[in-house]
């Protein structure tokens, strides 16, 4: 498992640098703007009161925009779960299936490594990669914090990273589970990504339509604290997110342990196109060789 973990982490260097740098710069930018927001606080609050509730519904913390918690909630922590969620869904869905579909896993699994070691080696690399990105994001918030007048401590800024980590792991493991259950990796990534975006939209829509509230209350973003975690962490919500992740990871592991490894698109979706859409290609042969 150690060899696979090391290798997977090495492969994820680009992701850590790319996503980490992006998250870092986004944090620096948002925190640096805070001093100017604070200085025009009264005018801004008046302006915001004029905004329609449909718009305000999508930005938690808008009613308290000039406080550090409200500002970060609106400008930073409301977007971060969707930004990092996209990373997590993609990384989770590709964790094993991408190499499997390319045929790379066929040779790797002929080495003396058990399927569970392969699974945990890669999954732990995914966890560490996610932590690395969050660490960069936290550094982006912390560095300009004092100079911008935000006045939050390193610990206060670190606390919301935990619910963010919970969301990342939740969606990452969901993508991973789908990739193990569905016959095509791309489909699982797209499906998990669509659910992520739908859940994000549900935050605002449920404020506008109370019929959607029960649905929102069982969705992962309901258990995401956002900037409220700066003051106090809701461990129960975090535990629910992690429990969901554990369930998805468990299902993915069981499926990976039990099923055949595929090569060259074996087991892919078998759509039968109408005749006029076919371009005269030979029918796909099921490989038994």
């Amino acid at each position: 498992m150690r060899a696979e973990f090391k290798h997977s982490l090495r492969r994820a260097r680009g992701q850590i640098i790319g996503w980490g740098l992006g998250a870092f710069l986004y944090g620096v930018l948002m925190v640096s703007f805070y001093s100017s927001v604070e200085s025009i606080g009264a005018e801004l609050n008046t302006l915001m009161e004029s905004f329609p509730p449909e718009m305000l519904a999508f930005f938690p913390g808008f009613d308290d925009f000039t406080s550090p918690v409200g500002y970060l909630g609106t400008e930073y922590f409301s977007f971060m779960p969707i930004i990092l969620g996209i990373f997590a869904v993609t990384a989770g869905a590709r964790l094993l299936v991408s190499d499997e579909e390319k045929g790379i896993l066929d040779l790797l699994m002929a080495y003396p490594i058990s399927r569970s070691s392969m699974f945990w080696g890669r999954f732990s690399a995914f966890l560490v990669t996610s932590m690395g990105i969050l660490l960069a994001a936290w550094a982006g918030l912390m560095l300009p914090s004092q100079s911008s007048g935000l006045g939050l401590t390193a610990i206060e800024l670190l606390r919301p990273s935990l619910p963010l980590f919970g969301v990342m792991i939740f969606f990452g493991s969901f993508g991973l589970m789908l990739s193990m259950l569905l016959p095509a990796g791309r489909t699982s990534g797209a499906f998990a990504g669509a659910l992520l975006i739908a859940n994000f939209l549900l935050i605002g829509l449920s404020s506008l339509n109370e019929n959607l509230v029960p649905l929102y209350e069982i969705s992962p973003f309901y258990f995401y604290q956002g900037s409220r975690a700066i003051n106090a962490l809701d461990w129960d919500s975090l535990a629910i997110l992690l429990a969901g992740s554990s369930l998805f990871t468990g299902v993915a592991l069981i499926r990976f342990l039990r099923r055949d490894l595929r090569v060259g698109g074996e087991g892919g979706w078998q759509f039968s196109l109408p005749g006029f859409l076919k371009r005269g290609e030979a029918p796909a042969e099921v490989g038994a060789d």
């Binding site: 060899a3 045929g103 790379i104 040779l107 699994m109 002929a110 080495y111 038994a288």
Partner: protein, 308 residues
């Protein structure tokens, strides 16, 4: 635990949905043997090899690899096996050396790096090159090196010389013979009759998921027909040639040329041709695919007889 065989399968069954890939494969490969596994595309060669490594799970039957059941002890089996897949895929963003180091890490750094260098030199594989810039043949060399580098007890190789030029094919044959001489068992699938003839102690032919023949390669080679293209100095009567046992006259050109198919020994044809004014002879050996087709034809004839 039966350890006398390197590979033993009994009634191995593997289905992909409604496709019956293996329909009861029985194989016994002794330790130290070089065994050729032959069959047309889709016959079940790769499926059988992948079952042996627990990459896929059979629905029925028994497999023992070096005495171990790969479904129960996959890691112990893989510790002793070097594998070349039929369609080799590598991480294109790595250099050859990094890819081989990663494989070696997965095996607990069992391979000696000096030996890896030796293998690479013999196959003219540049370890410092990026995989994405390599040709198919050079990638295949990585497949061969990674399989051999830990000096495994059993080599499972699915078309190991695919994409290699003839010189490199010969070098791979030498490496496999050397491994065999040191006690390793070599189990390889192939489409190339010369490869089978050069390497295998014994061969099995698989067709539609069933072993249809197990034989010495010499028997297989003798089963392979030869095609004679004979040119004569003057027009001759070809009837005496066409009446020879095992000889089929495929074509003639005004008695000046003849195309003959010869099955089995060719001594009698050579002697018969000595009585003719021959100006030139070209002899072509039929391919393994044609032998497979011959098996199909025999089976179809049997099926017709049974039906009638």
């Amino acid at each position: 635990m039966d350890e006398s065989f390197a590979i033993k399968t009994r009634g191995l069954i593997k289905n992909y949905g409604s496709v019956r890939a293996l329909r009861g494969v029985d194989l016994e490969v002794s330790r130290g043997e070089v065994f050729g596994f032959l069959g047309p595309n889709g016959a079940g060669k790769t499926t059988a090899i992948r079952c042996m490594l627990d990459l896929i799970r059979p629905q029925g039957g028994l497999i023992r690899i070096l005495g171990f059941n790969p479904q129960e002890d996959p890691v112990r089996v893989r510790e002793k096996v070097g594998y070349v897949p039929g369609e080799l895929s590598l991480e294109s963003n790595l250099k050859v050396k990094s890819q081989l180091r990663y494989y070696n890490d997965l095996r607990g750094n069992k391979a000696e790096w000096d030996y890896v260098r030796q293998l690479a030199e013999r196959l003219e594989l540049d370890l410092s090159r990026s995989i994405k810039n390599l040709s198919k043949g050079n990638k295949q060399k990585i497949g061969v090196v990674q399989a051999l580098m830990s000096k495994p007890e059993l080599l499972l190789m699915d078309e190991p010389t695919s994409g290699l030029d003839p010189l490199m094919q010969q070098e791979v044959y030498r490496l496999l013979r050397e491994a065999s001489a040191k006690g390793a068992t070599v189990f390889f699938s192939s489409h190339i009759i010369n490869e089978v003839e050069a390497l295998a102690d014994r061969v099995a032919i698989i067709r539609e998921g069933v072993i249809v023949e197990e034989a010495e390669p010499s028997k297989l080679v003798s089963m392979a027909m030869r095609r004679f293209h004979v040119r004569f100095k003057e027009s001759v009567d070809l009837d005496p040639l066409s009446r020879l046992e095992g000889v089929t006259l495929l074509g003639r050109s005004n008695g000046m040329e003849a195309m003959l198919n010869v099955e089995g020994e060719m001594d009698f044809l050579i002697k018969a041709l000595a009585a003719f004014p021959v100006s030139d002879i070209e002899i072509e050996r039929t391919s393994l695919e044609e032998i497979f087709l011959a098996y199909y034809a025999e089976d179809k004839e049997e099926a017709k007889k049974n039906a009638s």
